[in-house]
């Protein structure tokens, strides 16, 4: 168990690519921290720096106040699960699990006991004499997990460990990982590009983009209070709709002006109308989650839209639409009704208590 700190960490590659810029992060003892972002955002680099597989350009990385910058991977006492599992193909499952213990020069009896424990925990006992090539994807994943836990490391690192599995297996192993981490209580850094995985697994989630930490918080906080347009668009499935607008104050009410259309901000909106009053006349970005559209009937605050495509998910539909007020952007609405058809006109009513506002630079206004 350990606390991990990234202090103003920079990583610039030889070709000038900035993978991490002033990256600051503190992972608490026993915490399950998820780093999420699209590919190339620097999340894996952060993990690899912590593992010692890459050297940082500037800054410090500490495990329990122990500066590990100059320590080689083998002296950091961390364990890592790789995306492609990186099992040793020439070794049996037993030998794979025992390898880290062998490197630690544990005695034969202790090694065997720990291997058996890990195998029992991950239901690998029957597979101990097989080689990785004879295992299914899910089994390999479990062996990789086993190899990580067997040595009881200070920190677990997981680099997209589920991305090579099919959707159903991913969900079940996701739950296994969460349960295992809770049981062991080991500080864990988990990297993924899948925001659903991040939201379901992480006690806290760090959203990253272009080498910078965008927001750090509990999953629900990221969803409810995104710090900027990137986080708003990234968290949520699909992410938040974002479109340009101006605010106007009419009869003491704040209205969102969308070209020829307007909607009135509810008094109970997530951003208090009083806060918005100071932003009138400015170019802003408005955010509205897909689930915050309700079917409209032509009354006030109803907006017309033209459906470009429909995805039916069984219990609901995702409607992709364009609208004269969306500034040419395709937006998406989640609808419980299953009646929508592509290329038809539809009236949508935004939930005016769920409107988010961002400055033109993308910073959230609260």
């Amino acid at each position: 168990m350990a606390q991990v700190q990234f202090q103003h960490v920079y990583k610039t590659y030889d070709d000038g690519t900035q993978a991490l810029v002033d990256f600051d992060l503190q992972v608490q003892d026993g915490e399950f921290m998820v780093l999420v972002g699209s590919s190339g955002c620097g999340k894996s680099t952060a993990l690899r720096l912590l593992a010692g597989l890459e050297t940082l350009t500037a800054g410090n990385i500490l495990i329990d106040d122990d500066d590990i910058n100059d320590k080689p991977p083998q002296q950091r006492n961390i364990a890592m699960v790789f995306q492609n599992y990186a099992l040793y193909p020439h070794m049996t499952v037993r030998q794979n699990l025992a390898f880290p213990l062998k490197m630690m020069k544990r005695g034969r009896a202790d090694t065997e006991r720990r291997v058996q424990q890990a195998a029992a925990l991950l239901e690998l006992t029957a597979l101990l004499e097989r080689k990785p090539g004879q295992l299914s994807g899910g089994q390999r994943q479990r062996v990789a997990m086993g190899r990580a836990i067997v040595r009881e490391p200070r920190v677990f690192l997981m680099d997209e460990p589920l991305s090579n599995l099919d959707a159903r297996l991913r969900v079940s192993i996701r739950a296994d990982i969460a349960g295992l981490q809770k049981k062991m209580g080991t500080t864990t850094l988990y990297v993924t590009h899948d925001q659903v995985e991040a939201m379901t697994l992480g006690e806290r989630v760090a959203v990253m983009n272009e080498g910078r930490l965008q927001q750090l918080g509990a999953p629900q906080d990221l969803y409810e209070k995104p710090a900027n347009t990137f986080v708003a668009g990234f968290i949520g499935n699909p992410g938040m709709n974002l479109f340009s607008a101006q605010l106007a104050k009419v009869d003491n009410r704040i209205q969102v002006m969308l070209g020829d259309y307007k909607i009135t901000v509810s008094d109970t909106n997530v951003v208090a109308p009083d806060t918005l009053a100071s932003c009138t006349g400015q170019d802003l970005i408005v955010g509205l989650r897909p689930e915050s559209f309700i079917p409209g009937s032509g009354d006030d605050d109803t907006l017309p839209a033209r459906i470009s495509s429909v995805e039916t998910l069984g219990h609901e539909q995702l409607i992709y639409f364009t609208a004269p007020w969306s500034g040419g952007k395709t937006l998406v609405a989640r609808q419980g009704s299953l009646q929508h058809i592509a290329h038809h006109e539809v009236l949508l009513k935004p939930d005016t208590s769920q409107l988010y506002f961002f400055t033109a630079e993308g910073v959230a206004i609260y």
């Binding site: 593992a51 597989l53 364990a79 990186a86 099992l87 040793y88 490197m103 190899r147």
Partner: protein
């Protein structure tokens, strides 16, 4: 599809012709080794050259009578196996260092190694000869072994293989607590059998037939390898082709055995390292 059949027949025919072309000299030598001397040249121009009339082992007995075949064979086996074994260690470590380790001057040095590949032994033989003479190494085993341990082509083969191995394997080993050398020994080597086999076979083939360098640096039969023994048959009359062929058969046999034993590995290694056979 008739077109496919024609194509298959044509390619089989071409392969048979090519195979015959390659096998013919060996067959000629083997048949010749079993004939009395007077018949060897007599029948050389006809198809009978490939078929012995009678099986006569006399030529083989002559070889043993005229040269110390056993001594030469042991010398060749010792020198070649030392070069192969030690060469595998030296060149695989070098290939790994070039492929995976980060160190100053790596790329420049690797370019240098690649350049050395095109320098033939003949070009450096004289200065090398001068050097080993200064060391007092002439007429020893070491003078026939040491200069051939580090081999640019072998390093290149190892390099191309290692660079294609998944990097995560090594990273996993490093994180699991293995040092660089331990990672190499426990993870890289066991997963690189094809390239080790390829380099071993190529080195063996190359060194088994070494002639020029041993001729320069050795004078007595105590340390001389097999290819030099064949010159005995030319320099000690009468010139008996049957003996020479018998000697040739005995000299080539180990190469053939090694190749046939490791053929599967060899093919896999050639495919894996992307070299052309």
């Amino acid at each position: 599809m008739p077109h496919n059949i024609v194509l298959r027949l044509t390619s089989y025919a071409a392969l048979v012709v090519a195979a015959l072309l390659f096998v013919a000299p060996l067959l000629f030598m083997f048949a010749g080794s079993l004939k009395p001397d007077d018949q060897v040249l007599l029948e050389a121009g006809s198809w009978r050259a490939f078929l012995p009339d009678t099986i006569a082992w006399q030529n083989y007995l002559d070889v043993f009578a005229r040269v110390r075949f056993g001594r030469y064979l042991m010398n060749s086996l010792f020198i070649t196996s030392m070069i192969v074994a030690a060469g595998l260690i030296v060149n695989s470590l070098a290939g790994y260092a070039f492929a995976r380790l980060q160190w100053t001057g790596r790329d420049i040095l690797f370019a240098g190694v690649l350049t050395i590949m095109i320098v033939p032994l003949e070009a450096i033989a004289v200065p090398l000869f001068y050097q080993v003479t200064l060391f007092g190494w002439r007429d020893t085993y070491i003078v026939q072994i040491l200069p051939f341990l580090a081999n640019a082509f072998s390093i290149y083969l190892f390099y191309t293989f290692f660079i294609g191995l998944p990097r995560e394997l090594e990273e996993a080993a490093r994180i699991d607590g293995a040092s660089v050398l331990r990672t190499f020994v426990s993870v890289i080597v066991p997963n690189s059998k094809p390239v080790f086999a390829t380099v071993a076979i190529l080195t063996f083939l190359m060194q088994w037939g070494a002639f020029l360098w041993p001729l320069m640096v050795t004078s007595g039969e105590a340390v001389r390898p097999l290819p030099l023994a064949v010159s005995t048959f030319h320099s000690l009359p009468p010139l008996q082709w049957g003996d020479i062929f018998a000697f040739g058969v005995m000299m080539v046999s180990p190469v053939l055995i090694v190749f046939l034993l490791f053929q599967r590995w060899f093919v896999r290694g050639v495919v894996a390292t992307g070299i052309k056979g």
